[in-house]
Symmetry: C2
Subunit: 247 residues, 2 copies
DNA sequence: CGTGCCCTTGAAGATCTTCAAACGCAGTGG
DNA sequence: CCACTGCGTTTGAAGATCTTCAAGGGCACG
């Protein structure tokens, strides 16, 4: 872990200035925020922070990605969401609770900015605009989790997997020949942990969709070939035809 | 709907002063807040606000209770939570989004305080302490929904029903002879909508628990006779003995 | 070239939903 | 006062959905 040097400041200012939490705050405040940050390269296979531990650091991803998980009583892992560049993690821990409500796993090569809980709370108190941004941030996240809760409560597995893939396309989609690649390592187990099912069921569903030409999948890799097909499945509409996806 | 008269001010000041959103703010601010509120008696069988409609009012319950629901695509109703006296509803709608993310149904005799979206946002901007309270409020709610999400994703129906009952005991429990009454009209369908199952399954589970002496239930009414029994079910522990509950 | 990890597939079965029928209590109106 | 009626509830039976367990395949990486 190292203090942020002046050379990195410009990039970081841009990153934070475009982030939901810090957007719209004055340049001088942003400079103060950057000055108080510590940068860290996350080590692979080690959690950046761990569910249940005292909340010490607020976190913004610079490059790479975090995976936020919770553990069920029986040890089943649930994936809450992925955190990409410019996005914040551990907001809850710092704004409200005393412990992290989730564990954060870093992809290889992930770099993060960290602020201590105390620093973050001081910044919020000193700059009301920041507190309002934080309120918006957390509110948006609440809306999203409530929606996922409703989906989990009312929809079948295939439908939920379709939704998960569509979210991932929006979040990490990259156009490739013949479709949209979800540009991150994504195992069947990951998809299962996102949708409240098992890796076996995910495997079966993806195989079925592959035979219908909706997706193409390999080891930790999914390409969505016909997004409209997934939308139809997610919205529980009559299945679309292969031709429906041309634009 | 009527402006709040001076005679009601003292009670309302107490109620708001003790609420999560307004606690700790200065008396004069609180007075301003009350002055800007409108009080409303909710009509039975009519929604106080409706999912998907433009967010116009922020809401705090004075007496009675609101039931917040969402609709699934197929019309299945999901209950997000209940809102009691001093608690806020439609926080999301006002702090972040443009539309209500849920529908609010009032119990008979429910009275609410309402602030327009614009008023609420002006108050937040004018009083940073209020924004920090709001941040804490929404953060706490996010933590709670994430936990319920995990439960829905990892636990069996009976376990989730046990948890729902324990939450209701905490929220609306009233000691009665032989147990704790959940002091509100609570149908099997309600419990099903809280836990992502069907009223039939809830009925079967409650019948089973009744035969074990854990609960006693009637039409829209549940008495928890052995809370520890429910805790054991919720935590997936070996079943407790009837004697375990004496204090 | 082996080894580990992820993935696939089948079969069996648990869990839960769906549908149908009927019960019983509460409130209503005769 | 009583029958009627509506609504929440119960219960059984059938079956859909999904999980669990087992076995094996295949790709990437060392």
């Amino acid at each position: 872990m190292a203090a942020v040097g002046p050379s990195a400041d410009v990039q970081l200012l841009d990153l934070l200035g475009a982030s939901q939490l810090f957007h719209g705050v004055e340049r001088e405040v942003l400079a103060e925020v950057v000055a108080r940050a510590r940068e860290q390269r996350a080590e692979a296979d080690r959690a950046v922070f761990t569910e249940g531990e005292p909340a010490a650091w607020f976190c913004v991803v610079v490059t790479g990605r975090l995976k936020l998980t919770q553990l069920g009583l029986d040890g089943t892992e649930v994936i809450l969401r992925f955190v990409g560049p410019g996005e914040a993690a551990a907001a809850l821990a710092v704004f409200e609770g005393a412990v992290y409500p989730a564990t954060a796993w870093a992809e290889r090569g992930t770099r993060t900015l960290l602020w201590s809980r105390e620093t973050m709370q001081a910044l919020l108190r000193a700059h009301p605009a920041l507190a309002l941004n934080a309120l918006e941030l957390v509110s948006g996240r609440l809306r999203e989790v409530q929606e996922r809760f409703r989906e989990l409560a009312t929809e079948r597995v295939a439908q939920r997997i379709a939704r998960a893939l569509l979210r991932l396309v929006r979040q990490a989609g990259r156009k490739v020949e013949g479709g949209v690649l979800i540009d991150m390592p994504l195992s069947r187990q990951d998809l299962a942990a996102m949708t409240g099912t098992t890796l076996f069921t995910v495997s079966r569903v993806l195989s079925e969709w592959e035979s219908q030409g909706i997706v193409e999948s390999a080891r930790e890799r999914v390409v969505v070939k016909r997004p409209h097909g997934l939308v139809a499945l997610a919205e529980d509409l009559p299945p679309s035809q292969p031709g429906d996806d041309r634009q």
